[in-house]
Symmetry: C2
Subunit: 345 residues, 2 copies
């Protein structure tokens, strides 16, 4: 006898290749959880097409509907027809903030069968724990004398002890399940106010985790080590903007953001968490059925793990690893990659 | 008959390997300008040792002495005995701001004979024009409830049309002498206030340079392309913090920051400009006489070019290129590298 658990999942395919890769991720989720879980999907038509059709990006009513779900599966957001930032801020960042996604979890792993642009990549297997609700993403700042020679534009990074502590704690907990090392990345020699607070809180929390070692690197030095010695990292802990930057660089050294999943996690469980590939909507290849759904499928695995379906999550990851090891460099359609991974489950 | 021009040069060897590499750079400057220029050096004892001895980092009086010079040659600043940021902000950044070094010029070139960590680096030859007096480096920001669970720490990025326009203009002028392409790097989909202003001013200035093409990249995407396609860049134009980050990453892909020079330039000529390697004081290898002086020597070449000694500057660069091509990977002492480059002049 099995207990089938039922989950409500909000699906937001979004823009460009988001629409093509999301169904593959859903198919894999289904198969991997057969007999143990059942998903009721609610599709949300959000993104560029919707915005161009009726001007809606994300209303409070839609947000309330989304909140009724246990988790969110997102494809990708962004469209060249729309001014950069409008959808990103109005939809993606709005969800991260409204749903208090304070952990932005981004694993970087170099899979066997993937070619890194590095000559000697070595083993790469680290996770970036990026803060998701503060820093320069707070939307604070403004302009005076806009459009003139006297314009002054500001951007304010807001960091609270509350916001920092919860992500620091998460990073140390995660390190306990991994190789027990946390690297704080900041720029505390220049951004002294925020940097000192991050370091203080890391030191305080670290005292509760005597088994976990920790060190510190400036963001600039970090971009060097990601290229020259990525194997040194286990858990990287950093703020919203620095996390944005280094996860893209990390995606590049593990052979492309096409293999990089992410979770926007509300670890307190108050709101549904959201899972998405770190790549964008790739308008240049959208509509051709050639986008690689691997990052979306790995995001679905993260979603399952978050829901407590650890076994299904691991089985997807094992299937993806095997698929990449065997077929990594073969050109395949979006659907074919999905099918190949399904077949391994 | 030759006209010997006389210049006053402030020399600040600074900390760690700074003290070892600076004399080599001076020797090369001397030799390359024999008969055309004469330098009166004033050594400034600034950095960690001075600070530990008498508490002085940089007084207004010392700054006034420094201002009397035509240019500044700096080694490196930073010492593990002193809290991160104290010397960097009190000395290095203080000079950049007090001397209005609004252009931070950082060429990235992969020299023949240098091994890049990239498997297929291709040709890499771009220059980052980093703004030097604004942004998150302005020192604006603060903390409330410091040290408590209620602490809020802010960092404010301040950007003025004046500050942005002068660096944009410099980048387009520089592009005219190069491959005529400018890439603006920012994060305008999130940092809308500053990002929109940067983009507006780039568009306005670009209209005056019809021969120069320009495009835009987000900072996160830029860190990908520096690894996957660095050959696409000619002139990268960016703000203070983004410039700090990508020049270190760029230094890594061209085989290490040991080959990367930089100029902190007051292009209006009101104050002396300052030239320094982008690498730090490397306390781990300091005192052993094994630090590579190449970046310091290339910084001296930039200094000479800034003083109008173009011919000497080019001759140093040619000598350095030849030296690296022949001996790039050989282990040599600091002094030996200096001697080898001198011998080629
Ligand atoms: C699209 C953009 C707003 C977003 C970010 O900056 O967080 C993206 O780059 C990411 O990393 O998820
Ligand atoms: C030492 C530090 C303050 C400095 C900076 O951040 O500008 C350094 O990293 C650089 O790039 O010159």
């Amino acid at each position: 006898m099995t207990d089938t658990r039922v989950f409500n999942i909000a699906v937001i395919p979004g823009d460009g290749i988001g629409k093509e890769i999301t169904p593959q991720a859903q198919a894999v989720m289904e198969k991997a959880t057969e007999g143990v879980a059942q998903f009721n999907y609610t599709q949300f038509d959000l993104g560029a097409d919707r915005y161009l059709r009726d001007g809606v990006i994300l209303t409070d009513e839609i947000l309330d509907e989304i909140k009724k779900n246990d988790a969110i599966l997102l494809g990708a957001i962004g469209d060249p027809r729309i001014k950069a930032g409008v959808l990103e801020r109005g939809l993606l960042l709005k969800m991260r903030f409204a749903l208090d996604h304070y952990i932005n979890l981004r694993p970087s792993k170099l899979y066997k069968g993937v070619t890194s642009p590095l000559a000697n990549p070595g083993e790469i297997d680290f996770v970036v724990v990026r803060e998701g609700t503060e820093g320069l993403y707070a939307g604070a700042g403004g302009s005076t004398h806009a459009g003139t020679n006297q314009q002054v534009a500001t951007e304010v990074s807001i960091n609270s002890a509350h916001g920092v502590e919860r992500v620091v704690r998460y990073a140390f907990e995660l390190a306990m399940k991994r190789r027990k090392h946390v690297t704080l990345v900041h720029k505390k020699n220049v951004l002294v106010n925020a940097g000192d607070m991050w370091q203080r809180i890391v030191n305080e929390v670290a005292a509760e985790y005597p088994e976990v070692t920790h060190d510190y690197l400036h963001i600039d030095a970090t971009t060097i080590f990601i290229v020259t010695d990525p194997g040194r990292f286990d858990v990287i802990l950093t703020d919203n903007l620095f996390g944005d930057i280094i996860t893209d660089e990390a995606g590049a050294v593990v052979g492309g953001v096409g293999y990089s999943a992410s979770g926007n996690i509300n670890a307190s469980g108050e709101y549904p968490s959201m899972f998405e590939p770190i790549h964008g909507s790739a308008p240049d290849i959208a509509g051709q059925g050639i986008a690689n759904p691997t990052a979306a499928i790995l995001s679905a695995a993260m979603l399952l793990r978050h829901l407590g379906l650890e076994d299904a999550a691991s089985r997807i990851e094992v299937a993806v690893e095997a698929d990449i090891a065997e077929k990594g460099s073969t050109e395949r359609s979006t659907e074919q990659v999905g099918k190949d991974i399904l077949a391994r489950l």
